[in-house]
Symmetry: C3
Subunit: 260 residues, 3 copies
């Protein structure tokens, strides 16, 4: 029997990998529809941490091809209301709990957002998700498994504070290489800065006063700041561990002061 091209399904969970939750979910998905290509997006989200999940996911999904189904299962076991959303946006699909994570990912929710129905309180999470993923994989209409969402949980991300000559942001992510990502975007930086010189202040370190393009634009061991490929201001040390060496932690303040 000839197979059709498999449908890519990415999985983002707070299940970890030491457990039975993840293999059960994978089995349920593979049983619900023949011909899925499962891709582990991230399973190391700390339990219930929808802010971190949203950040990692937001920086990943745009790189996937049209037709990809993204399943996000983070902090959904504990939802009192137990609502789930299915979204179509830029030719990709998104399925997950209505716990605010999609507002962290998309800001304003996409127009094609549906609330799943047709399941009972007794259905396992993997059954609910299996059914929804299989339905979307078969390219059947959302309306058969849910209704257009008129309201949904919202959760706001920290936004930088700005003045005429400064931007005060926060550290929102520290990656495996101890590079530090802030919530200051290139767009905001240019809006406020108008091309002026600046000093970046974080913790007690000496100010950084210029933008680098790549890590090795400064000597080994020197700190630098740059915009990463998604346009977020990042603080790093060339071939070094910025967060550890500079004692930077999540939610620490980062201040950019523009020179008059």
């Amino acid at each position: 029997m000839a197979a059709t091209t498999p449908v890519i399904v990415t999985l983002t969970t707070d299940f970890g990998r030491e457990d039975f939750h993840l293999p059960r979910l994978k089995g349920s998905l593979l049983s619900a529809h023949q011909g899925l290509q499962l891709v582990d997006l991230n399973h190391e989200i700390p339990p219930y941490d929808i802010v971190r999940a949203a950040f990692v996911f937001k920086r990943s999904w745009v790189h996937y091809p049209e037709g990809t189904i993204h399943l996000i299962s983070v902090n959904d076991y504990y939802q009192p209301r137990g609502r789930f959303l299915a979204i179509r946006h830029e030719r990709q699909y998104f399925i997950g709990p209505d716990n605010g994570i999609f507002s962290l990912i998309f800001g304003k929710l996409p127009s094609e957002t549906f609330v799943l129905d047709g399941y009972t309180k007794k259905d396992a999470l993997s059954t609910i998700y299996g059914r929804a993923v299989a339905h979307v994989a078969r390219q059947k209409p959302f309306l058969e498994i849910g209704l257009p969402a008129t309201k949904f949980s919202e959760r706001l991300a920290f936004q930088p504070v700005i003045g005429p000559n400064y931007i005060r942001g926060t550290v929102v992510f520290i990656d495996r290489f101890d590079n530090v990502t802030t919530n200051i975007t290139r767009e905001l930086f240019e809006d406020v800065g108008h091309g002026r010189g600046f000093q970046l202040l974080i913790k007690r370190m000496s100010p950084i006063d210029g933008l680098s393009f790549r890590y090795h634009d400064v000597p080994e061991g020197e700190p630098l700041c740059r915009f990463d490929h998604d346009g977020f201001l990042e603080v790093a040390i060339n071939l070094g561990r910025a967060a550890t060496l500079l004692s930077i932690q999540l939610e620490d303040m980062v201040q950019v002061e523009f020179v008059n």
Copy 2:
């Protein structure tokens, strides 16, 4: 060239992921048969721990589709006898060492259990498994790679102790969310309890005296007990870490006392 639907092969190992054992095994499988869909079931089994492997696997395999091949490679490097089993059961396939793990998974071994033969003492584990998986994936008869098993290693799981008014079980698993699974099943609970009220005692905490259905049936931070989707009695804290907060460890005693 048109491809047929790939055969799903799940992998459960104590290899971890930092090592060369797992990528070698994957390569050998992919070389042995074109068109396998490898699914990582669990590789974080602590070295040699067939009890944990059996528990995680037992709660996962039933969710996989017909025709799935489950390869279990736990504590098989150290087997003195070096025997391997291939099993067909409920339209799925199971391949792994004859070290007692299959008795922990199935209790009594399924009727279609075969002992692999045709390999030599010098063959690498990945060669032996690659050959067996490829054979099964091609839907060829077990008899060509082994003989019906007449005896095999057995290993018994802890069973609860019961009296007319109590069940004394043990903690058999602690998941990533610090939920605590016991070996007390709903069936046993109903057999002994006959619908009577009860108190659940574990460590020095106050007794829990009712069943919840979902975690949020109690206020945030409160302990609860419930039957999970596989029918095991579970102790948890709504939005909290039960095992850590209550100092519960594997093999701790859990007592259910029914009220007369």
Copy 3:
């Protein structure tokens, strides 16, 4: 639409799994070419550690089928020159940074080694790799994406020191089971030893004076040495943790003294 057999792409990175780097790379690859089967070879390489990456990879790639594309992304964010190589060798393909890792893997570089071109300083790593992988997956000639490499970075691995009656090697890997791999090969052992008896000395433990074939050739808890399936001399304890119990660390010296 009928699908062709997917092309296997293995991924070896120092990205870890908690991060957005790996899911971005996977998405870019899946977007660049429809019909890739991604296989996680190893993502737990410590940041920048091309020596460990080379060791794990060297022991894995030969087990993969013809036509496999191996993508190695370790320590490539920090390359000043930013060169990437594409190699064809024994009917498999290898793509990664020109930072010395391929000399650690292959010793002398294979004849079909190309330097990638046609990308700009602004391209993301995942874009560069996505383009190269898609090109190779389509079986198009290397010359369209690069030029034959005339020089490349070299990095030398530690080699054992030998005398008429001894081999002095080093510990090059400790696996998940705390087995200890040295850089002493069976070939070297036989060349120097000529079948003589020997004593293996490591740390302060009593000498080991014979080769075992399998772990359980010695009683449980006893140390042993053996050649592993790739022909490297390994020190282990039957059902025990050699590295921990014997306080063995990476780069420790191992001496084999042959008896006259």
